[in-house]
């Protein structure tokens, strides 16, 4: 509901910018959409497309922060393993973060994504139709999600028998998957 109110306010504001010209346009004829409304719509399109771009940047930021947290968890886990200390919680934390990479954030982010879907917002509508993206996902494809989740499970299993080498092997796969996403983004 708030989204609709906000959209309505933007629209009314944009229309207001051009309202003063209305009589002139009407005088020029009725055969085309009045220029001021076209201009308003164009401005609104800028807002909508800008918001979509902002959303993409925000999700990329979420992924970047999650990836950094995962790197830190990996370092902690390796240090603890090398020191002969308990690394279970670090490894499980790493597994959770890798899963969140696949899920484009944690459960709270999923809740927000659900809210956007409630409003009919599909960032990758065409990609969803083609089965490339899950509903509401912005950056992470279905294939990438599956890959991250598989890596997360493999990492999680290492918590019971910590092994720095095995952890590095799994992390390299995560790294490759993430860089692939980042590479696509860079292009």
């Amino acid at each position: 509901m708030k989204n609709r109110i906000w959209s309505g306010m933007i629209l009314v504001g944009l229309m207001g910018l051009h309202a003063a010209d209305a009589p002139l346009c009407q005088a020029q004829g009725q055969m085309s959409t009045p220029e001021e409304l076209v201009a308003s719509y164009n401005s609104l399109a800028d807002v909508i497309l800008g918001a979509k771009k902002t959303e993409r940047h925000l999700v990329l930021s979420i992924l970047a922060v999650t990836y950094s947290q995962a790197e830190a968890a990996l370092d902690r886990a390796k240090r603890n393993i090398q020191a002969g200390k308990d690394a279970r919680s670090d490894i499980e934390g790493l597994a959770a973060l890798v899963a969140q990479l696949g899920n484009e954030g944690d459960a709270a982010v999923a809740g927000i994504r659900k809210r956007l879907l409630e409003g009919g917002h599909h960032h990758n509508a065409a990609g969803e139709q083609q089965g490339i993206y899950e509903e509401g996902f912005v950056v992470v494809t279905r294939a990438a999600k599956k890959g991250f989740l598989a890596r997360a499970a493999e990492i999680g299993k290492l918590a019971a028998a910590p092994d720095a080498g095995a952890l590095s092997t799994q992390w390299k796969k995560v790294q490759a998957q993430y860089e692939k996403l980042a590479g696509v983004e860079a292009r």
């Binding site: 899963a99 899920n103 459960a107």
Partner: protein, 565 residues
Amino acid sequence: MDLPNPSLAVVAALLVFFSGVSGAGGEVAEKRVPRFRFVDVAHDAGLTRVVHAGRPGKDHLLDSAGTGVAWLDFDKDGHLDAYIVNSWKMAEDRIVERGKNALYRNLGDGSFEDVTERSGTGGDGHWGCGVAVADYDADGWPDILVTNFGPNLLYRNRGDGSFENVAAQAGIEVPEWSTGAAFFDADGDGDLDLYIAGYIEATREEVLKARPTLDWKGVDKVAFGPFGLKGALDHFFLFDGTGSYAEFTAEAGLADRSRGFGFGVRTADLDADGDLDLYIANDSDANYFYRNEGGGTFQEVGLWTGAAFDVNGAAQAGMGVAVGDVDGDLNLDIVVTNFAEDFSTLYRSLGSGFFEDASAEAGVGGPSFPLLSWGASLADLDNDGDLDLTIANGHIYPQVDDHPQLSFSYRQPNLLLENIGSGRFIDVTDEAGPGFQLIEASRGLAAGDYDNDGDLDLLFSNLDEPPTLLRNESEKGSWLSLVLEIPPGRGPVIGTRVVVTAGGKRLIRDVASGGSYLSTHDHRLHFGLGSVGVVERIEITWPDGHRTVREEVAANQFLAISREP
């Protein structure tokens, strides 16, 4: 050949895929002699009250969510009684009748007496949803929690055949849309804590005024949601030892951060570390697997343990939950029922709290794919020593019947999948007797041996119809049923785990709360034993870790075992 539309083409392709995967099971089926036979005896047994379900057009999701059922022995006479939750009958925005929940007392001769009025368990006019049974106050008598759209009811069993609603005093009314619930000792202090799932936030006015507005496959308008509606929060309560509960959801790490559309709830020791974990089936969201970290705190680990999504990493529309060891490795596996055009999911345990989606290879995916599924039971229905899977089905949109070209039906058959060993299932619904040929919009499902004849019977709730009670008349092997007891005040039975060794096989069962779809199975632990006449060993691990062992126990009996002091 032209298929009618793209979605049907997808369905057809997936059915071919799944039938190919389960083809080996089909070959086995050709060689089998049907031995399952279930007969609906609900009417003759006296289970006749219609379970209302809103409006005929199911204008709001609440209209089609249905209700739970429970088996319990409320009067402790050794015969299972039945409790069936009810909701309202409506016409447009008018309430025609507030359905009454029903408590049916088992008379021990195959029939039931309606004791709802005398017992005071009719539901107080609320729109009922689910039911969970437990002796929450540890006085030796099973109590009944009814979750509602509106304030929940906690019927305390007075022990004289009557109940009193103490939900307000206990602090667990939660006047929202509550669904699945489970009692369990979350913090190991010897009493029963409580988890209650929430579905969506909705007001009574919204329900009354709802009309079908969601475009469905471009052919009709159906009830709106759940997308577009806000998820209701789940709640977790710690028992304070004096009869009241205190909410502890966030502190326990159980904050419903995605506001999942919660339905089925089951507690079980899913990572086999000695404490009870929580599993919640979320509709259209990742399922929650809350691992018990000790001391009453939990961590959601579903995303990285393989228990949240299907094999493709996709969230499904979780409805009901069943837990049991389907492949005989002594690890508890999970079945989650889902929406139509999606399969029910078998999360096979890999041990230590990790799971993999084995639905396709186990033969669960194919038969369940076209059906909209709810209640679920993993129970040994032919007493051959493995757990068979029963699934209650029925669509949520009655409008589907107006569009036969889409190959859906509102009323659907319930499904019986026989475990043919090692956790592989074949669909034996068609050969399971007249009871499984009934077509209803079923929801709740509870398994229990109501006639004490050594096999498990099945109780279903159906929308706008009386319940179905499928008496098990199958050919069966020998059996053992354990009635576990702990003296009042010495801790709950829920959470007890039993391993029976018989004929070289080891079978595991747990006393659980919650499960299925908003329902409660028989709390007695049933073991099918095949041709075994004497059980070699029974190992009971009580919730506090204490162990009891019995050896050389005769089969074909109900055996009461009480925890030693």
